[in-house]
């Protein structure tokens, strides 16, 4: 791939903390990455590692979450410097989010039509006739009939509701869409449908690029071009999806993949152990690699924070010992 390709979003040393009574929760603590036009960037990590916080910091930074430092340049404009009015203008058209809890927000006795209008308002836009006409044309793309608009949400399956949410979020053909755990509440068959739909929307040019956030690496792998693995508010590893899954370098990525149950591995043949220990408390967390307490490759250096290193083919890692880890085949 050429270096001339277009960058939609460039995040530079971004820090966003929750300022709360007990101190600063450093949930996004120095992230660096880019999203290229046309790509689906996957973001994965254990619950509590700051994935949703990253999404909020890009699209709806509200108290107690605060921008500390760093930039997030969307098509050349630093989102961190924009007023809320300026941001509102970008919403849905340039940047849009498929929110994690939109499904729960569905009141069972509300018509889908009403729900759509409410959701659009939240995005700071009006649901006028032109808008609703466009909604109808988009229903077909997600395999829903127009009559769904007049149904009550309790009559729709979780998968169908999620499709409605996706359709609204992508209605103004956003340059970048952020999908936060859009499959977690769904049944497996709907998970496949909804995940594939995100890639289809990208292929059809309806959405420019996507950040696909989930704790489920196997699902992410199905459609992500590149994957960023997060651990405790920081990047652990970032690279092509195939590289991350089949040739992981960071000890955390390796542990994550080794602990995945998958068809072909049975308890009686091979014991999956998961990752021992728990992620650190992010409140006023100190210097040092944040994974070191659970890492089997820990050395003295790990008490200092590792720098982000570029290895090859734009593969980035934050680990002092990734080179020796990479050659350790007996795990």
């Amino acid at each position: 791939m050429a270096d001339t390709e277009e960058t939609v979003l460039e995040v530079k040393d971004l820090k966003a903390y929750y300022r709360v009574m007990k101190g600063d929760v450093k949930a996004v603590d120095g992230l660096n990455f880019t999203v290229r036009r046309g790509e689906i960037l996957g973001v994965v990590g254990e619950s509590g590692c700051g994935k949703s916080t990253l999404a909020y910091s890009l699209i709806s930074l509200n108290k107690p979450l605060q921008h500390i430092s760093g930039e997030a340049n969307l098509l050349g404009q630093d989102l961190m410097k924009l007023s809320s009015e300026e941001k509102r203008k970008l919403k849905m058209k340039n940047i849009s989010i498929i929110p994690q809890y939109a499904l729960d927000a569905f009141s069972p006795t509300k018509k889908i039509k009403t729900f759509i209008k409410d959701m659009v308002k939240q995005h700071g836009r009006r649901a006028d006739k032109e808008f609703m006409d466009k909604v109808k044309t988009r229903f077909e793309i997600v395999n829903l009939s127009h009559s769904v608009l007049d149904r009550y949400s309790m009559e729709l399956s979780g998968g169908m509701k999620q499709r409605v949410v996706m359709l609204i979020s992508s209605l103004l053909d956003p340059d970048l869409i952020i999908a936060d755990e859009i499959t977690s509440a769904l049944d497996v068959t709907s998970q496949r449908y909804v995940t594939t739909l995100l890639a289809d929307l990208r292929d059809e040019g309806i959405i420019g690029s996507a950040i696909f956030i989930t704790h489920d690496l196997a699902t992410l792998y199905q459609i992500a071009d590149r994957i960023m693995v997060m651990y405790a508010g920081r990047l652990a590893e970032l690279g092509n999806a195939d590289e991350i899954v089949h040739n992981p370098r960071h000890p955390y990525t390796r542990a994550l993949i080794n602990s995945l149950p998958r068809i072909g591995i049975q308890h009686k043949d091979e014991r999956l152990t998961g990752i021992k220990g728990t992620p650190p408390d992010l409140t006023d967390i100190e210097e040092g690699c944040r994974f070191r307490f659970r890492c089997q490759y820990r050395t003295e250096e790990c008490d200092k924070s590792p720098k982000m290193e570029k290895t090859h083919q734009r593969h980035y890692i934050r680990c002092w010992n990734y080179e020796s880890v990479g050659s350790d085949k007996n795990e």
Binding site: V188, R192, D216, T219, Q266
Partner: protein, 313 residues
Amino acid sequence: MSEENKAILKAEGLTKIFSSGIINKEYTVAVNNASFELYPGKVTSLVGESGSGKTTVGRLILKLIEPTAGKIFFKGQDITDIEDRDTKKEYYRQIQGVFQDPFSSFNPLFKINRIFDILFREFEPETKNREELISQSLEEVNLNPDRILDKYPHQLSGGQLQRLLIARALLLDVDILVADEIISMLDASTKMGVLNLLVDICRDKGMAVLFITHDLNLGYYLSDDTLILHEGNLVERGATTKVYENPYHPYTQMLFDSVPDIEEKWDRSKEFIPEQIIEAVEEFYQNNDEEGYKEVEENHFVLMSILETENYK
């Protein structure tokens, strides 16, 4: 048949129809004609999507609800209609449920040590070394007795309460354990530990485990036998490796097609619409003239036509 191959629990044509509404009664067939067996020392997973009837099956065999039709045999004895208090209590003594929402299994007013006290008084009044046994079982499920026993249920996490229920099963050395979607409550860090523990207990103590899940990867990892539930019907059952390697029913096939795999990506050129499964299943039933279950290979059964629900109304 040798002793170890004998089912500890047998469900025959188990059916549960819920009715709601006072004037215009509406009926929901939650489980229709399900037949299966649970074996000592074996994990059987019950897999299906939400609303397919998994929890209802679990509650039926725990005897928390009564079946509309069908029978349950425990150690060869028909226990479907037992009324007698002692016989019922004897059954409850031998089976333990661990639920998705474990809070409802605990009296919120009692501290954990009190709950254990009551347990012993009710089921094992003769036991002398209670404290030792309690500590032992708590440590087996990775709970620190000092940090648990003087707490109220609401002071513990859902995952901790679930592990407490497993500890209870260990203490009483029950014959059957029903675990209903317990992973969502478990923290990522303890999840695999608890699941491995469940299988170890099953093997070591000869417990029969019914593992209810919608996670097919996990079902494969843990279980010896698999039951696939679709809209209340048990559409496929058999040895886990056989059902997974050679799914026969269109619903099972679609379910396995949906599993995300890190070795092989989904074929995105193939159209995949979940709603179409209803038609595909109907077509499957129409296009074969076989009745009930077909044994497609040894210990692998597939539902070839819907079994009639008994006329209930």
